[in-house]
């Protein structure tokens, strides 16, 4: 199949491309920018007038509770690859489960699935899962999702074992003991509303422990969903030291704070919790400077699990279809350019994964997102393809609308 995407503004942050040119796709790959490759005859032409043509988004964290609906939501949001944490039911701790998930994803044929294997059996934090087998079945790295390790020794051994095979370990830095009873950031709002607090130290203690073990083992570690300014500072120091540590931040944490809990709004309950304004600003700076990639942390929650008092409601928000508009909103508030903004959700996550995707160089897989950066749409339950209608933005206008998404040169979404 030969496709010409014409009249669009092609932005490829990785390769510094930002030009109004045609993009040519041949046999599932990018075959040319601006100039058609020899012998090109367009079998299909996509008119991208008024639109941005960029690499498909890579989401470093999306839970796929109902896989068909969520993969459809992904491509509707311009996301062409999703990293899936292992905290499904059952946890992704056996090669057969990973194999089945990858296979199911291929069968559905929308966004690519990049599973994270469970680091330990049942995510219990005790006995290692078969990491090599999981890797062969398609797992890109290993994680405990939000589940704790039983003790520091178990964490050390897991990191040593992963390092043996060169596997990366993804960890949510949250001290179990300091966070187990908490439901909100230990700050002014939690004190006022009488919500049990999770102190910032829950994050910094975990990061300090992990960083020390990285120093000792050389393990490649990715820290997921940072939430605090001191947490960002610790990761920056580890990076400056040259340690193989990276991090990401959920897009909601770039825009919301503890104050958005308002009168106990369960849609403002997140894990880790939304913290104070200075924390939000530090996360924002980390993302803008390239220290942190941005992800959706897509967590579909059934309506009944949100219609509960704040402390009983499940944490998380729908994210796949708002990752792009919310990232654009964040970038707009910082006056970042479009290429800078798009880098955070395309090439930066690809770097975390060590993949060559997230770019539009010749011969790269034609995973492409075409979106109108000016188009607005209202976030309503009906507007979302995801089964997860849970969002603190319900009723708000979103700016930036995906028109067409291609995965491997196939059109998988058309608005």
């Amino acid at each position: 199949m030969q496709i010409e995407i014409k009249n669009g503004r092609v932005i490829d942050p990785k390769n510094g491309v930002d030009r109004s040119i045609s993009l040519f796709v041949v046999d599932g790959k990018v075959a040319g920018l601006g100039e058609a490759p020899t012998g090109f005859v367009a079998e299909k032409t996509i008119d991208a007038a008024g639109c941005v043509v960029c690499p498909g988004l890579i989401d470093l964290g999306a839970r796929l509770n109902s896989i068909e609906a969520e993969l459809a939501a992904a491509v509707a949001g311009g996301v062409t690859s999703v990293v899936v944490p292992p905290d499904a039911d059952p946890p992704l701790d056996e090669p057969e489960l990973a194999d089945r998930l990858v296979h199911r994803g291929t069968e559905i044929g929308k966004a690519r699935i990049l599973p994270l294997g469970a680091l330990t059996l049942g995510l219990k934090g005790e006995r290692l899962a078969e990491l090599v087998g999981l890797k062969k079945a398609g797992c890109v790295a290993f994680s405990q999702a939000n589940a704790p390790m039983v003790d520091t020794e178990a964490l050390l051994r897991a990191m040593e074992y992963a390092t043996t095979f060169g596997f990366a370990v993804w960890l949510q830095p949250q001290d179990y003991w300091l966070s187990r009873n908490g439901i909100a950031h230990e700050g002014e709002v939690a004190s006022r509303l009488g919500l049990a607090g999770i102190p910032v130290a829950a994050e910094t203690i975990a990061i300090a422990t992990i960083v020390q073990l990285v120093r000792d083992t050389g393990c490649r570690v990715h820290l997921t969903r940072l939430s605090s300014a001191p947490g960002v500072a610790l990761v920056k120091a580890a990076r400056d030291e040259g340690l193989p540590v990276s991090c990401d931040v959920g897009v909601h944490h770039l825009l919301l704070t503890e104050n958005d809990i308002g009168f106990f709004n369960p849609h403002a309950r997140f894990c880790p919790p939304l913290r104070a304004q200075n924390d939000r600003l530090a996360l924002s700076t980390a993302a803008a400077s390239g220290l942190a990639a941005i992800c959706s942390d897509h967590t579909p929650v059934a309506a009944d699990d949100k219609l509960l008092p704040f402390g009983e409601a499940k944490a998380g928000a729908t994210g796949l279809e708002v990752l792009l508009p919310l990232t654009l909103k964040w970038a707009e508030s910082l006056k970042l350019s479009l290429p800078e903004a798009l880098a955070r959700i395309t090439s930066a996550p690809a770097d975390v994964l060590g993949l060559s995707s997230g770019q539009l160089a010749v011969d790269a897989a034609a995973d492409i997102c075409i979106f109108d950066p000016e188009a607005t749409w209202q976030l309503t339950p009906e507007a979302l393809k995801s089964r997860g209608k849970n969002s603190p933005w319900t009723g708000y206008m979103m700016i930036g609308k995906v028109k067409t998404t291609l995965v491997g040169g196939r059109v998988v979404y058309q608005a």
């Binding site: 230990e186 004190s191 509303l193 008092p309």
Partner: protein, 319 residues
Amino acid sequence: MHNPQLNKDGELTHLLSIEGLPQRILTQILDTAESFMEVSARDVKKVPLLRGKSVFNLFFENSTRTRTTFEIAAKRLSADVINLDINKSSASKGETLLDTIDNLVAMHANLFVVRHASSGAPYLIAEHLQRIGRDDVHVVNAGDGRHAHPTQGLLDMYTIRHYKKDFTQLRVAIVGDILHSRVARSDIHALTTLGVPEVRAIGPETLLPKHLDKLGVHVFHDMNEGLKDVDVIIMLRLQNERMNGALLPSAGEYFRHYGLTPQKLALARPDAIVMHPGPMNRGVEIHSAVADGSQAVILPQVTFGIAVRMAVMSIVAGN
């Protein structure tokens, strides 16, 4: 942000928290309560303000005292009162909080008095009633988690006004487990709204919430220092389970440092009053000589509580 307690005319339609209520409404409630004090002294202790209305006492958490005072208050307003102890009924069958509410609304409930272990539960109910278009059904928070216990806060204000007349010259100390106390939070908001210039919180660091200063409170760890020259002392109940974790070593050590003894009381102003929301733990937070002494106004608080709850219910649900 829309305050769900007030209707579009700025009148009280639910009582969920003291926070965010203007002084005018607090004063209105206290004045109304004062007018009801006389009703409780009559032979026929009834006024017809809620005649024909159904008040549901929805207690998702056990409480005999608060529920009883709400029941008496509703009956003195001539309402029909239905007590539901949810611990023993629907919740254990898996019915959600809002399903329970929908069912009771279908039974023509007019007012819900809600006690719940989760902070914010009464807000969820009030927002749900608004969503289903039932602005004729009202909610009074009878204590939610650690968040608020607004009628207790109001009866405390009634008590202070009764004995001290004027809020604007007072020093008030709240002593004990402020972290877990919904009473303390409601008292703090009420005191600052009514113009008390100095509100003090006294307790060990483990029982004080962070950022109390942002609520306009001065924090003291030393009770001898904190009680100096105060006009009002509000003692808080210390739950026994606080001794199980690492919050406190023992009831004995707590009493030595934060128990109100006659010696410590002598540091306050000679006409200081001693309050307690009850039930008291004698020998843990308060010495019997103080609890039964001439400065204690703990039993009058209970009497005032009925008038205050009558006032709140008649204001939110009356015609």
